[in-house]
């Protein structure tokens, strides 16, 4: 498959690139320092406790990991589902996926109690643990996406392009299932234990990932002075985002409504949806209104009626990302803050905080570490864009040609 | 060094000492000659325009980041980066044999200690880089045809040194003694070298590389301003008598220690990688200390599994027992903790820059002597049990 699309790298001599690069390096370094500080003092310097054992770092990390698999959507739609307008942006999509994944994993690894023993994840292995399954899934994801990128960038590997795309797509579905199952298989906590969590995560990954991808692309559009995305892709991305955000919202609704019908889960649902101080507003306003309804409205409104098509897509994507992090916060931290029910239906109390809503306030080091993950992701993204030709230079012609080909194929099929 | 501390040198130690002096001399003289040749050459910076500062920057990026290769051959650059950056960390790890915490101060030593685990990964990167270079030489037709046997031999050597090094890391040797040997070489107070086959092989291969470096193009740093032409990596012997003579000297320098080393290993036997630890621990007081020095990591790893998983808390398996017997008392007559430089474990581990995290969880001090209270508890316990039985019978 030969397409006349040419690609270029970003300009390494551009002062703007350097400013961004140094910014990301600083964020990563600060994140690393925060991790060292936590490692040196012990985790009591964080807001995390024996009740809320996974805090803000995990919220951001999980968001990055989940959105990473979704960021691959653009490449998958181009190659697996043969939608030509997406194809020139496949490389950027693959690179974004890798960068986000690495950023998320960096947070997770640096938040471990014993980050120095990280290699234990490989040398000791427990096959019954979803977490160790995920270690395989994460490394596999890197392998598959790198191979996929290779087939996109090397003409000689063209014959492997479609299989690579297909495998990467299937693998990303498995990976998101794995990420969701970390929570879904947890029998101890009623907020998590559900078969719906894995499919919900897949839906969320799609909307979060496409939103992250749109932000990256629009940022490159602004900073490189090129016309990203093409009008056709812009139109499609707006519709795609609306659909994916809608599906995500639906899945989250179904998850909570299902729980509401289970008598033993009414308490936790009441807590998350109504009673809790911060979680309910984060869920309703942060995720529901700002992160779902307003973005859908923005991207479905006719282009130009509110702002330019690009501006509204950008704003909608940013809101989806914000809402996504709100959702993850409620899902992870909210689920932990609700007390364990050792005796369902009874009132518990103890010196160890049984029966009480756990409080959690993230401390500065963990906020810095969590943001550092975005720094790592951004750093890898910029370095990747600088080292490899990832950005399409002349996609318009290619797009038209590919579209014509598709039309010919469609008529031939009839 | 006082009289009591003088130790009997083995023939191997002497042979290896001579070998390293000779190899170092050949390396230094050979490199000096090459650099001299390069400096005598007219207009060394030919072909690079611009101001002198720009030239310096370009030369520096070439040297440190292999800029030229990055833009000409991306794959070769990846191998280069793996090899060279790996080598830097590996050399940093090996600084523990050249430096001593007593001379360099705690800050520099901290860097050396910190580099230790990274050195292990750096070695893997280094080997991956060499493997990449070699694969390229074997797989790319043009490069294959331009390569000589010497190139392949050198690549094999570059791969063999870290490979044997890793084996060494696995079948432990007495690293403190190795350090003392090399420090002794530098300070002209010779110390013995452990007679371990893998260690001797590793060191011999390193000496071989040191001797070959001046005659090969492997060390191209000195020629960074020369025109880059990466095909002939190796060298060819022969052609004139001078070279033949040099080869003869080299052979004697290297072959004699090899023979002596092989003989010593044949006589003393290989270090058994996994001795019978149950016996070893029981008799280790009467044994040659080196047996325990070499094997204590494996022994402790084995014991920890026995205690943790099997619950067999016999004396020989418990780290409390190690700590109890090997107690060192401080000025206040109290046992010292691992933080103290005089702690039994600390002394060697600090010298060898091997950090251990045993004492982050385990107490590095022995138990206080058993008190009367323990005995009382024990007797009371038996009484309580019978009382419990009475009560439960009533219920």
């Amino acid at each position: 498959m030969t397409t006349p699309i040419t690609y270029h790298t970003i300009d390494g001599r551009n002062a703007g690139t350097w400013v961004v690069l140094i910014g990301f390096i600083l964020l990563s370094a600060l994140g690393g320092l925060a991790a060292l500080y936590m490692e040196h003092n012990g985790h009591w310097v964080t807001g995390m406790t024996n009740h809320v054992v996974w805090g803000l770092p995990h919220v951001f990390a999980l968001f990055l990991i989940v959105s990473s698999t979704g960021a691959l959507n653009v490449a998958s739609i181009g190659s697996v589902f043969e939608k030509a307008p997406y194809r020139p942006f496949g490389r950027l999509s693959g690179l974004t996926a890798l960068a986000l994944q690495a950023g998320g994993l960096a947070i997770l690894v640096l938040d471990l109690g014993r980050s120095d023993r990280m290699v234990t994840f490989v040398t000791y292995y427990n096959f019954s643990s979803i977490f160790s399954m995920n270690v395989i899934l994460y490394s596999g994801f890197f392998g598959f996406v790198i191979f996929y990128l290779w087939t996109m960038m090397d003409q000689r590997m063209g014959h492997m392009y479609r299989p690579a795309a297909l495998f990467a797509f299937i693998w990303r579905l498995i990976l998101t299932t794995g990420s969701g199952s970390i929570f879904g298989f947890m029998i101890s906590r009623s907020a998590y234990h559900s078969t719906l969590v894995a499919p919900m995560f897949i839906a969320l990954s799609m909307s979060f990932g496409v939103a992250m991808y749109c932000l990256v692309m629009l940022w490159l559009n602004a900073s490189t002075g090129r016309r990203y995305p093409s009008p056709e892709l812009l139109r499609r991305l707006r519709i795609l985002l609306a659909i994916l955000v809608g599906v995500s919202l639906y899945m989250v609704l179904v998850h909570h409504v299902t729980n509401l019908y289970v008598a033993e889960r009414r308490d936790v649902e009441r807590f998350l949806l109504v009673d809790s101080g911060i979680y309910a507003p984060l869920l309703w306003i942060g995720f529901g209104l700002l992160g779902s309804l307003i973005p859908i409205f923005l991207v479905l409104s006719p282009a130009g009626s509110i702002g330019s098509a690009k501006a509204t897509l950008g704003l909608a994507s940013a809101l989806v990302v914000l809402g996504g992090n709100c959702f993850m916060y409620v899902f992870i931290v909210g689920g932990e803050a609700f007390p364990l029910e050792l005796f369902p239906g009874k009132i518990l109390s103890s010196a160890a905080g049984d029966g009480a809503i756990a409080s959690y306030v993230p401390s500065l080091p963990e906020i810095v570490l969590a943001i550092g993950g975005y720094g790592v992701a951004g750093l890898l993204l910029v370095v990747g864009l600088w080292a490899f030709p990832m950005l399409p230079s002349s996609f318009a012609a290619a797009e038209q040609k590919a579209e014509a080909e598709a039309k010919v194929r469609a008529t031939a099929a009839h | 060094m006082s009289d009591q501390e003088t130790t009997q040198l083995t023939y191997v130690s002497m042979a290896y000492a001579v070998m390293f002096y000779a190899a170092a001399a050949i390396l230094v003289v050979g490199l000096a000659l090459r650099i001299g040749r390069f400096l005598r050459r007219p207009a060394p910076l030919r072909g690079i325009g611009g101001t002198s500062s720009a030239r310096t920057v370009q030369a520096a990026t070439d040297m440190v980041l292999f800029r030229g290769t990055f833009f000409s051959d991306r794959l070769q650059w990846i191998f280069s980066a793996c090899f060279h950056f790996g080598l830097v960390v590996v050399l940093l790890r090996h600084m523990r044999y050249a430096l001593d915490p007593d001379w360099v101060g705690p800050l520099v030593w901290k860097v050396v200690v910190l580099a230790q685990p990274f050195g292990l990964y750096g070695g893997l990167a280094l080997m991956a880089g060499v493997a990449g270079f070699w694969a390229r030489r074997l797989l790319v037709k043009e490069v294959r045809e331009a390569s000589s046997l010497g190139d392949h031999a050198l690549l094999a050597l570059l791969l063999a040194i870290p490979a044997v090094g890793y084996l060494n890391n696995w079948v432990h040797t007495d690293v403190v003694q190795v350090k003392e040997f090399f420090v002794g070489l530098a300070t002209l107070k010779w110390q013995p070298l452990p007679t371990d086959a893998l260690l001797l092989t590793h060191l011999w291969l390193v000496a071989l590389l040191m001797v070959l470096l001046p005659f090969s193009r492997v060390l191209h740093l000195a020629g960074v301003f020369e025109k880059r032409d990466d095909t002939p990596l190796g060298f060819s012997l022969g052609r004139n008598k001078r070279r033949l003579a040099i080869a003869g000297v080299v052979a004697v320098v290297l072959l004699a220690p090899a023979a002596i080393g092989a003989a010593a290993v044949a006589e003393e036997g290989w270090t058994v990688p996994q001795p019978d630890f149950s016996k070893l621990a029981r008799v280790h007081k009467n044994l040659d200390a080196t047996v325990m020095i070499r094997n204590h990591p494996n022994f402790l790893m084995g014991s920890r599994s026995i205690v943790v998983y099997q619950g067999v808390r016999t004396e020989i398996n418990r780290i409390e027992q190690c700590v109890t017997c090997h107690v060192v008392k401080g000025a206040d007559k109290q046992p010292v903790a691992y933080d103290d430089p005089k702690h039994f474990c600390r002394e060697c581990h600090n010298k060898a820059a091997v950090s251990i995290d045993c004492f982050e969880c385990h107490n590095s001090k022995p138990l206080p002597p058993a008190s009367k209270a323990d005995l009382e508890t024990a007797t009371r316990f038996a009484a309580l049990m019978s009382r419990f039985n009475e009560r439960s019978a009533v219920r």
């Binding site: 012990g42 024996n50 054992v53 427990n126 | 007081k285 138990l367 002597p369 316990f381």
Partner: protein, 241 residues
């Protein structure tokens, strides 16, 4: 060097065990394993808590545990170690209130072992659930997965740990059922303290041995396991709930 080897406490406990073995009636012998024999599945250590005998105001078991393992509070209750706690359970519809100790339940099917990515969390052959801290990376998944809130994370730097109970920053920890005492033929510190307090609400023994005191009791009286609906099959049982 041999002079500096102090008589160890373990040796003493061993002696006590032998003493116990002869002085107790047959069937209540706690010490069935010789010192160098690995633990086996023939034994399943368990505990029975008689909630009717447990006093609301007594925390002897908690105190004993804290002393035994050197667990000290840093004034931050949410991140302080709490291996055993006195739980007060009140039925809102009847107003009946009970108080009893809860610790690691030493499940036969422990969720913490299932989820541990490195296998650091494990169940010993004799049913005691432990953490191999040598390979624990501190991911805290086990804390998330435990339905009993039994696991803690070491949030602080520690020094001068009890030699028989190593613990350190950045790893998970929980009740070990005083495995160091049990291996030497003793009983857990909490059980001992409970007996010492005169209440005798806790009983420790081998659930697999039909003649053991605990087996006889669980056979004859109604006992329950916490969250038995999860089918984790805890080795700690409660009477009178």
């Amino acid at each position: 060097m041999s002079e500096s080897c102090d008589v160890s406490r373990r040796g003493l406990l061993g002696a006590v065990a032998a003493f116990g073995a002869v002085s107790l009636a047959p069937g209540v012998m706690l010490y069935a394993r010789s010192a160098d024999e690995p633990v086996s599945a023939k034994v399943r250590w368990g505990m029975l808590v008689d909630t009717t005998q447990c006093d609301k105001d007594c925390d002897a078991c908690v105190e004993a545990c804290n002393t035994e393992f050197g667990l000290v509070s840093h004034g931050r209750p949410d991140s302080d170690p709490q291996w055993i706690r006195k739980l007060t359970v009140t039925d809102p519809s009847t107003g009946r209130s009970q108080s009893f100790p809860v610790m690691c339940q030493h499940c036969a099917h422990p969720p913490c072992v299932d989820v541990c990515p490195t296998g650091a969390s494990f169940k010993r052959a004799d049913g005691i659930v432990l953490i191999n801290r040598h390979i624990c990376v501190g991911c805290r998944y086990c804390e998330m997965a435990c339905p009993y809130m039994a696991r803690n994370f070491v949030h602080e730097n520690l020094t001068d740990q009890k030699p028989y109970a190593p613990r350190g920053k950045g790893t998970s920890e929980a009740c070990t059922m005083c495995v160091h005492r049990v291996d030497a033929g003793g009983t857990p510190a909490c059980v001992e303290a409970c007996s010492k307090s005169g209440r005798v609400a806790m009983l420790f023994g081998d659930l697999n041995d039909p003649n053991s005191e605990i087996s006889k009791r669980v056979r004859s009286v109604n006992t329950t396991q916490i969250r038995s609906d999860l089918r984790t099959d805890p080795g700690v049982r409660y009477q009178g709930l």
